[in-house]
Symmetry: C2
Subunit: 341 residues, 2 copies
DNA sequence: CTGAAAGCGCTTACAG
DNA sequence: CTGAAAGCGCTTACAG
């Protein structure tokens, strides 16, 4: 059973392919009667336009690319969901590709999307990406690009991010406000801009409250794993330097830390308060539940698609494109792991 | 800057488009010298084939559709990862669509993929799907289809599943083997075949060990949420009928149950053993960590793509297609929430 | 209001 | 070994 074509409808109705094509899209210069006849026949023959032919003719694919470091991660899978849902509404298809945080793979993925002739690209940079040639290529092809979460400040395009520094500040300030005097920070990888900014927020909050920053109170979590939370928690306690609050770069590590503290007989939040980051689902179901900073993900997915779509449309209509940078709000979610003392 | 076409290369080298086309794909009937010249020129001009034209000509899209109930779910996002990685290796693109467990949405998504002319479809059925017209349409179009996780037994196609009944049996038997005498079951939705099969496995294990099945020991979790684990746990304890082990349909609910039991002062596993299902990431980091049944997800994603690809290729080469049903292994993961008594 | 013709960029059967 | 021609299925500028 092969697909119905415009030609078949034309023959069956004894009119031209041109008229059929126009009638199906309700062109005003086709008579109402013809439109009705054509549509009926199309329905009867279960006509579906050949997408390839349409693409070739219109030079549009109605497809966009979404490049992320890793899909099996609640933040990204939720962004993906937001993008897909929004794209569906507008008849767009989304190609999802992963980079595993590697620059070389990111370059390959971008090349691939260019070859596939997507109408635009959504990108969260890999941590290890340090040169932007592939992004300049995208720009030189006049291909709309929107970056999110991990962005390259130097590349001119629309961007959607959160203010990590402010959020890190907010988290640390919450510890200070609830009476912590000696606050540690479990930070993420050195290369990650998000980690750097959260760390800067931490330092800023300390400085503003006249608490001396000590390098020895900062612990690095390169993989941001549960185990690193445990290991660094152990190290921290063994130093025995009176920590009473910890701001952790991400929830998973925070849960590892709490597990370790419980194991060592230290009470959370009575002896040590812990605040995480991201508001992963798991943070609401641990014991104690985790105070954290929530960051938008689903709505970020929706927003980046909308920005990309408007850029696609503007370009098509030769309206000058203006790039914008949107900073989405983060929120303090107070749960059981921090306590006013 | 517009894209280079075959024609441009042909003009620049003063040979025909035909030869350029063949040379780029190293046809044996083109001279080595010409091949070299053409490839060099193509590189110099940064030639990339126009995917639409190729699609239109070859009637292949090198694109497949993947339809799942919900992406923000560890099992499915991990399947997605497996599919994408495998597809990338073979130059295929994956369109991911969600159904939210609704039959009507599933039908729409399948229609959409047919219109987009994907080369094949991977599908995990929505729980609420009860008629299969849309799948018969796929088959009538000779479009390769592979179902996984949630399948329709009546539809003829390749299938990849786990043996939920056997796995439910295994879980329950583990409780029996470790000394539980009075075992409850928290089951999933009535409509879900997976839930039904796990429940049947539970009953079978009881029967085989001469333990009387009691309807009153079965609790339904329609949404399979953390909260339902808590609520049903409360009900169960209030009944006060000496339950000493619970097989829970999925890990998240099991964690809810354990949280509730702890809250009520009941020790897990000393007083009540709990076993979950799926081996979600969170089950390894709770306190106590959760004994569970692991099911393949990443490797399931790889496998379903491979099956689909071989079907696509066989059809193309007119090799008769043989459907197969693969049952992937599940495994008992013993952790702290169950205990030999 | 209708339709003939050109063309999007490629691949392939065929002729030489 | 090379190339002219047809054609995949559509859309659009143009003529009538």
């Amino acid at each position: 059973m092969s697909r119905t074509t415009l030609q078949q409808i034309a023959i069956s109705l004894d009119i031209s392919v041109t008229t059929v094509s126009k009638a199906l899209r309700s062109y005003p210069d086709v008579s109402k009667e013809t439109i009705a006849r054509v549509k009926e026949e199309a329905k009867r023959l279960n006509y579906k336009p050949n997408a390839f032919a349409v693409n070739l003719r219109t030079q549009e694919s109605k497809t966009i690319g979404l490049v992320i470091p890793e899909i099996v991660h609640q933040f990204f899978s939720s962004v993906v969901k937001g993008v897909i849902e929004e794209a569906e509404k507008h008849g767009y298809v989304v190609i999802i590709l992963q980079t595993d945080q590697k620059m070389q793979i990111e370059k390959k993925r971008i090349e691939f999307l260019i070859e596939k002739q997507v109408d635009g690209i959504l990108l969260a940079l890999a941590d290890e990406t340090i040169s932007y040639d592939h992004l300049y290529e995208v720009k030189s092809l006049d291909l709309p690009l929107v970056m999110f979460d991990k962005i390259a400040k130097l590349v001119e395009c629309s961007k959607v991010i959160i203010d990590d520094k402010k959020a890190g500040y907010m988290a640390t300030k919450h510890l200070i406000d609830t009476g912590c005097k000696n606050i540690a920070h479990f930070r993420g990888p050195m290369m990650s801009q998000n980690s750097i900014d959260r760390f800067l927020g931490y330092k800023k909050a300390l400085a503003e409250h006249n608490i001396v920053f000590k390098e020895s109170n900062v612990y690095s979590c390169l993989k941001m794993s549960f185990e690193e939370g445990q290991e660094n928690g152990k190290k921290m306690i063994e130093k025995n330097n009176g920590i009473d609050g910890v701001f952790v770069n991400t929830d998973l590590v925070a849960v590892g830390l709490i597990t370790q503290l419980k194991k060592m007989g230290i009470k959370v939040p009575e002896e040590i308060s812990v605040i995480g980051f991201s508001n992963w689902f798991l943070s609401s179901i641990t014991t104690p539940s985790l105070t954290t900073i929530s960051q938008p993900s689903f709505s970020m997915g929706q927003l980046i698609f909308k920005l990309l779509l408007s850029e696609i449309k503007n370009r098509k209509n030769n309206i000058p494109v203006e790039f914008e940078t949107v900073i989405m709000p983060t929120e303090l979610i107070v749960r059981e792991s921090t306590l006013a003392r």
